[in-house]
Chain length 220, copies 2
C-alpha cells in the first residue's frame, strides 16, 4: 500500500451525495457561496465534520466567505467520477429489479441502467420502464459492446451466487448486490462488491427501537 | 446512560440477519449443530468475529460440538424482537413505494407492510400488491387502530421532510427513510431514523472502483 496516497474515510465518502444534493438545491436557488455552518445545519452535522468531508472535493474555502457552490459541486463530482454518466446493467428482472429499472433517484447521480438481463424467456425481449430485457447469456457480449463495468444484482437470493459468477465471467468489475445474500468472489478477480443490506438496516432499526444502545453514531 | 447494560456493536447487529438466513438454510437441510468455522466460511468472516457476533444471541456454544442451529435462530430472533410479525406502514406509493409493497424479501424477517398511504386521490382506495392505499390524513387514526410504530418513507425527496413530520405527529416511533434526503426530527420526539442511503452506496462503489482506498473494512 502506498502511504503517500490520500485515503478517504468511508463515512465521508458515503456523505458526499448528500452534500451534492444540498449544493444543487442551493445552486438552483441562485446561491453562489456557501459556508461550512450553513451546510452543517442543512445536513445535521458538526461544522468540523463538514470541513473534513469537503477536503475530498479539493476545493479551497475562503475564511469568512465560504466555498463556491459551483466549485464544490464540480469537486465532489470529480472525486466520485460522476462528471460523466455511468452505464450500468441490471441482472434479475423480478419484483425488485423491475422497480429499480424505473427508479428515478439514480438519475441525480448520472447512474444509468442501460439494459436488463434475466433467464426467463417470457421476459427476454420485453421492455420494462423503457429498458430492454436481454437473456443472461448475452451478458458478456453486451458488456463489451456497451463498455459496462457495473452490475446491479437483483435476482432471487438462491440464484445470487450463480448470477454473480456470470457477471464476473462477463468481465464486469463491480456488483451492487440488492439480494439478501453475501457473495463469495475470489480476491484475484478484483471485483468490487457493494451490498444493500436492507435486512441489516431492519436489524439496526429494530434494536434501536427496542432501546438497546450502540457505541457507534449512525451515518446520516 | 447505564454502563452495566450490554451495548451491542452496530456492525454485529447489521450482520445478524445474514446469520439468520444461513442458519435457516442449515435447519431446512436438517442440520442440527453448527460450528463457528462453518458459519465463518459461509459468511466470509473470521471465526473470532462470528464468536463475538453470536454473543448477542445469548446462546452458549459447546467446545468441539458448536451451537444448536435452532437455539441460535431463536436467540437471534429474540434479540432482534423478530419472534413476532412487525406491522409497518408505507408512506408514498410512487415508483419505489409500489415496488417495496411487493418486495417479498421483507417476509423472511417478519416485516409486514399492512397499509400504504399517499396524498394522490387517484391512488387512495386502490390496492397495490394486495396492500390497500389510504389517504395520508388517515395515518394517525390507522396507526392507533393497527398498533403500528414503524413507517417506511418512500415519497419524492422534496416532500420527505413534510411527510416525516406527519408520521411523527401520528405517533409513530421509527422511520425507515428510502428517500435521498436526510430528515430533521427534534430529539425530544425520540423517533428512530434509519436511512437507506443508496446514493451513499453508489459513492462508495464508485470510489472503490476507481482504486482509491479506505481505512475501513467493508460490511458484509
Amino acid at each position: 500500500m502506498n502511504d503517500s496516497r490520500k485515503v478517504p474515510r468511508l463515512p465521508s465518502v458515503k456523505r458526499l451525495p448528500s452534500y451534492l444534493h444540498e449544493l444543487k438545491l442551493l445552486r438552483d436557488n441562485g446561491q453562489q457561496m456557501v459556508s461550512t455552518t450553513q451546510l452543517a445545519q442543512k445536513l445535521g452535522l458538526e461544522a468540523i465534520i463538514v470541513r473534513k468531508d469537503l477536503e475530498l472535493a479539493a476545493c479551497p474555502g475562503a475564511p469568512g466567505v465560504g466555498y463556491s457552490v459551483q466549485s464544490l459541486i464540480a469537486g465532489i463530482e470529480n472525486f466520485l467520477g460522476w462528471n460523466d454518466e455511468t452505464p450500468v446493467f441490471l441482472v434479475g428482472v423480478g419484483n425488485l429489479g423491475s422497480a429499480l429499472l424505473g427508479y428515478r433517484g439514480f438519475a441525480e447521480y448520472r447512474f444509468n441502467i442501460v439494459a436488463a438481463f434475466d433467464n426467463d424467456q417470457n421476459k427476454v425481449g420485453t421492455e420494462i420502464h423503457n429498458k430492454k430485457v436481454y437473456h443472461i447469456s448475452q451478458l458478456k457480449e453486451m458488456a463489451q459492446k456497451m463498455q459496462v463495468k457495473i452490475a446491479v444484482l437483483s435476482v432471487p437470493c438462491e440464484h445470487a451466487q450463480e448470477a454473480a459468477g456470470l457477471i464476473v465471467d462477463a468481465g464486469l468489475k463491480a456488483i451492487w448486490n440488492f439480494t439478501n445474500t453475501p457473495l463469495a468472489i475470489p480476491k484475484e478477480k478484483e471485483v468490487v462488491l457493494q451490498r444493500v443490506n436492507m435486512a441489516g438496516d431492519l436489524a439496526e432499526l429494530s434494536v434501536r427501537l427496542s432501546g438497546k444502545l450502540f457505541n457507534d453514531t449512525p451515518d446520516i
